[in-house]
């Protein structure tokens, strides 16, 4: 209770920052639509960054938190101005098609495999994520997939491919919802699932799930910001989108990202990645 109150208070005070800009020069087109993943919102990071950005620049950010697949589709249709997503392969397709430009790394963390404490498939101690997936499939223990074409779901599908399996059957279930909701369902059902570390840490107090596998390099989770191409989609707010991308990759915000969550979880939820060489 006390913890939740604190969390609510933090979120509320973050939201309570006046939206009216301090800077005298208002942008000509202040409305910016940001299409992003559920993890950036569910972790609370955007509740800190967006009001700060708005106060500094006078832009108004409309955050649409959906799965990465849906966010990229919004970019492809020109329905968003800036994308903040985590599915590198799908992002490259948008660059290739010319729908998005100016892709920059912002932050990274990692995916982890979580599951019930008693670990019926015995994946604890397994090194490779694909091997753990194979064990779960062999034991036919319940696995909950996002099933929503999100960045996490795409990573999960790549792991099944690496394991040489096509998951199907009563043990493989799809929630079709965001990471927070999926973790809750997995917890209730005693299922395994793949999650980003940030959402898991944010929700851990209300979950009966433990961390069973981490550290495999295939579980690297990197978030990029991309600007929707104004030459292909003339209606987009290119200036506003670029301003937000500049903001996310600025040294100051990178410091905020590095500190975010440390006070509550004892470890950061995300690690700065701007300007670093990509693996």
């Amino acid at each position: 209770m006390g913890y939740s109150l604190l969390l609510l208070f933090l979120v509320l005070t973050a939201c309570a920052t006046p939206a009216t800009p301090a800077s005298p020069s208002l942008p000509a087109n202040p409305e910016v639509i940001l299409a992003t993943t559920t993890s950036t919102q569910d972790s609370g990071l955007l509740d800190v960054l967006v009001p700060d950005f708005e106060a500094k620049t006078g832009y108004r950010i409309k955050v649409i938190a959906v799965g990465t697949g849906a966010a990229l589709a919004m970019g492809q249709r020109g329905d968003a101005d800036v994308l903040f997503v985590h599915a590198p392969a799908a992002e490259m397709e948008l660059l290739a098609s010319g729908d998005a430009v100016d892709r920059r790394p912002v932050m990274h963390n990692d995916f982890i495999i979580v599951g019930p404490e008693n670990d019926p498939a015995g994946i604890r101690g397994t090194v490779k994520a694909a091997d753990a997936f194979r064990k779960i499939a062999q034991a036919q223990d319940l696995f909950l997939s996002r099933g929503d074409d999100s960045g996490t779901h795409q990573t999960e599908l790549a792991l099944w491919k690496e394991a040489g399996l096509t998951p199907a059957g009563a043990w493989y279930q799809e929630s079709g919802q965001g990471m927070g909701a999926t973790l809750k369902i997995a917890s209730e059902k005693g299922a395994y699932t793949l999650t980003d570390r940030a959402t898991y840490l944010t929700m851990r107090a209300s979950l009966d799930l433990v961390l069973l596998l981490e550290g495999d390099e295939t579980l690297y989770n990197i978030y990029h910001v991309m600007v929707v191409n104004p030459e292909k989609h003339p209606g987009v707010n290119y200036e506003g989108a670029t301003a937000f991308a500049d903001y996310l990759t600025s040294p100051e915000v990178q410091r905020v990202i590095r500190e975010y969550g440390k006070d509550r979880f004892g470890q950061p939820l995300f690690f700065p990645a701007a300007g670093k060489p990509e693996p």
Partner: protein, 233 residues
Amino acid sequence: MDTFLSGLRHAIWLLVHLDPIVVEVTLRTLQVSGTATLVASFVGILVGTYLAQARFPGRRLLVSLVNTGMGLPPVVVGLFVALMLWRSGPLGQLRLIYTPAAMVIAQAIIATPIVTGVSIAAIQQLDPRLRLQLLGLGASRGQAALLLWWEARRSLLAAAMAGFGGAVSEVGASIMVGGNIAGQTRVLTTATVLETSKGNFDTAMALGILLLFLSFSIMLGATWLQQSGRGDR
């Protein structure tokens, strides 16, 4: 059960402290659903009165369509409105997507068939000779309609209340066309969804309780209005 109790405590805490964010979300909920109800009542009572009295081929089909519309799935309405209002959609130039106006449109579409359907029943319950008599006494059609509405005022208020209930309780359309943006399009239902997905179940519970309390207060007022002038209390 723990979550329920702590949610209850949390709701009371939020209410007592008049938390600014909660107040803002609650006011927006009232504003959006209230406006949608006004639009839906205006259209619904007019169309309902017409359908209740007019005789023309295809009337039954239309009434059936209205009755089907009383159960319109909000997500379908949301998808339809979003497809229209997205920048890439036919009405994208209006720049209405992700604004409270878009939510009013979606909620009005959900509430209008409800108001219409109940209005049809309300007007049809009046003695059909009443209208003929009014017209016979020299009332214009407009005057006759006003008098009929006055006669059916309790049922028509029930129609508006049902419409408000449909608008304020839906979440699928609001989240799709509003985007659940903090400080702009976040209402009590969409905030509840967000807090649930964040794992803040007691906050979610508190918001849900506030929504119930809000609906109850409004319905209490409307019911008091509706029942006044009757013998019982």
